[in-house]
Subunit: 337 residues, 2 copies
């Protein structure tokens, strides 16, 4: 019998503080009930065979020997990116545990890719967890989060530990970078009655491009953009207070303000704004873009009896809307049956 | 022969700093080439007869004896508001010069009313100028601006001297309130090649409502909203630098940032945002709502060869678009021919 391990890791949404977190301000993120699954099974040889079922992508299979690609049944730009994270995760995990073995890797997900939902962190962390478990090494969550961060860093050249932390630990986290040291990461409780709706449109810019554009804007108007970042930081602290008070109305208002501040940084789009207005008008307590912007996702805090209204309103204006559970569990591994 | 005086006063657009100016931050305004005309002619009796031709409104005539209305051919809510400014302007001007005479007043304008273009200031200042000139008293610009401010204060209960100053002096002004004293008002030069397009949609909220909503938001999140106001103040200072450098590209970027900050205060609408995106995509260097928001106008800085493009783009999304000259002359009086 072929032995195998399946690990699943959650996607995330940033509730408050994206972009500002790049400049040292705090952010609040939560794990959602959309999960990405990585299955790792043994091979008799030293090949690394990666199959990506739907990210959403056409079904593809790529085969590597050592670091050299020896076969690809189909490819695409998005597939290349997913494969880069998987290869880097296997490489770093092998080095960490001092052992490499050939494996078959299958990735399955129903999350939109490049939408700010943290799929690259989820695929990295799930790969690290499944692969190390198959090899009989139980890594701590700290080790997994660290290897996940290094995977993103290796592929992207720059990374924040936010996405890899939330997909590893799950729940909800307050993350504040510190100068030159490890970020402050604290668990945050969310109000039990907090319901969110996510709206999605395809992205027209990458995170890398958007972060670079904000950086350029900051070099043109340093004090002004610094003020906006600090204002977002202040907003995130007020959101933390409102979470403690379980004050959904204030959280909604703070989301609206945060969306305007993100717009002032130039990262919103007409499509995102239209979804935000649609959600508010359909009964959301507040709404904002979530993630890097340039298309991708919005998040809205919505009273339970308005969930269907808000989802419909998002679909009417051309987005894909879905209700999401927040505060969901982090990465989990189990043997393949 | 019946003697008469015609005074015309310009509308204005706020280039930077609306709302924040209420909280002590600077703003930059410019007079545009849309003018409101007030014609004052002698009467043999002491009646005050006001005729409003198009504000745009149905043609109406209202007759007052002393402060009591004795006849109205047609009325509407907008007409009532215009009439209130005219009555108050006549009352304050009469008191200032120590003489009252019955007159016929005719108001003509092609500016949209309640659109943030300063029509109430223009009607007040043009009335004061025409009426005092007819009575043979030449008031200084300082006296006119002061009486205009007091007129707005009397009708609205609260007012900023911004609109009445710009329609009196014309040109472009940097205005910064001071604590408990007169505001700092300085003339500003605009780049000679600066072209703007204005887009208009009907308003859904009044200035009074919007100012009150921002005030309430500030009482809920004092530090946060104070930070946003200060950030807008910093932005206006950077805009002043860019004006001096004749740097239209930076001015455009600063408009975009200012629009996001105004959105964060909750004063933009879907319709305004759609016009802003339409203008930017059609080639504007930057665009923002201008005035109090809640519908009304946007302003875009546009290269000369893109003016028609931007106007069309605004019309396509349902707004009324027009090119406007900036830096136009202030109030002018001349005898009726």
């Amino acid at each position: 019998m072929i032995r195998g391990v399946v690990a699943t890791a959650p996607g995330k949404v940033t509730l408050f503080g994206e972009h500002a977190v790049v400049y040292g301000e705090p952010a609040i993120v939560t794990a959602i009930n959309k999960r990405l699954e990585v299955e790792v099974t043994e091979r008799k040889d030293d090949l690394l065979k990666i199959r990506i079922v739907n990210l959403p992508l056409t079904d593809i299979t790529i085969i590597f020997r050592d670091k050299r690609r020896i076969g690809a049944e189909l490819s695409s730009e998005k597939a290349e990116k997913a494969v880069a994270y998987i290869k880097k995760a296997i490489e770093l995990t092998s080095r960490h545990i001092g052992e490499y073995r050939g494996v078959n890797i299958t990735v399955r997900s129903d999350m939109p890719v490049s939408a700010g939902l943290g799929t690259s962190a989820a695929v990295s962390v799930a790969t690290i967890t499944a692969y190390s478990t198959l090899l009989g090494k139980k890594l701590s969550l700290e080790e997994i989060a660290r290897l996940g961060y290094l995977t993103e860093l290796g592929v992207q050249g720059a990374a924040s530990p936010m996405d890899t932390s939330i997909t590893t630990y799950g729940g909800s986290l307050y993350i504040k970078p510190t100068e030159g040291g490890a970020p402050i990461i604290r668990k945050v409780e969310l109000p039990p009655n907090m319901k969110v709706v996510i709206g999605y449109v395809p992205r027209t810019s990458t995170t890398k491009e958007l972060v670079a554009e904000v950086k350029e804007l900051k070099s043109t108007f340093p004090v002004l953009i610094e003020n906006i970042m600090k204002t977002i930081g202040e907003l995130t602290e007020r959101a933390l207070d409102a979470l403690k008070r379980e004050d959904l109305k204030s959280l909604g208002k703070l989301m609206d303000i945060n969306h305007g501040l993100l717009s002032s940084l130039g990262v919103s789009t007409r499509e995102l704004d239209i979804m935000v207005y649609a959600a508010r008008e359909a009964g959301a307590l507040g709404a904002k873009l979530t993630g890097a912007g340039g298309g991708g996702c919005i998040i809205a805090i919505v009273p339970r009896d308005k969930l269907e209204n808000v989802i419909s309103a998002i679909e009417v204006v051309g987005g894909r809307g879905f209700a999401a559970e927040v505060n969901c569990p982090g990465v989990k591994a189990s043997p393949t049956i």
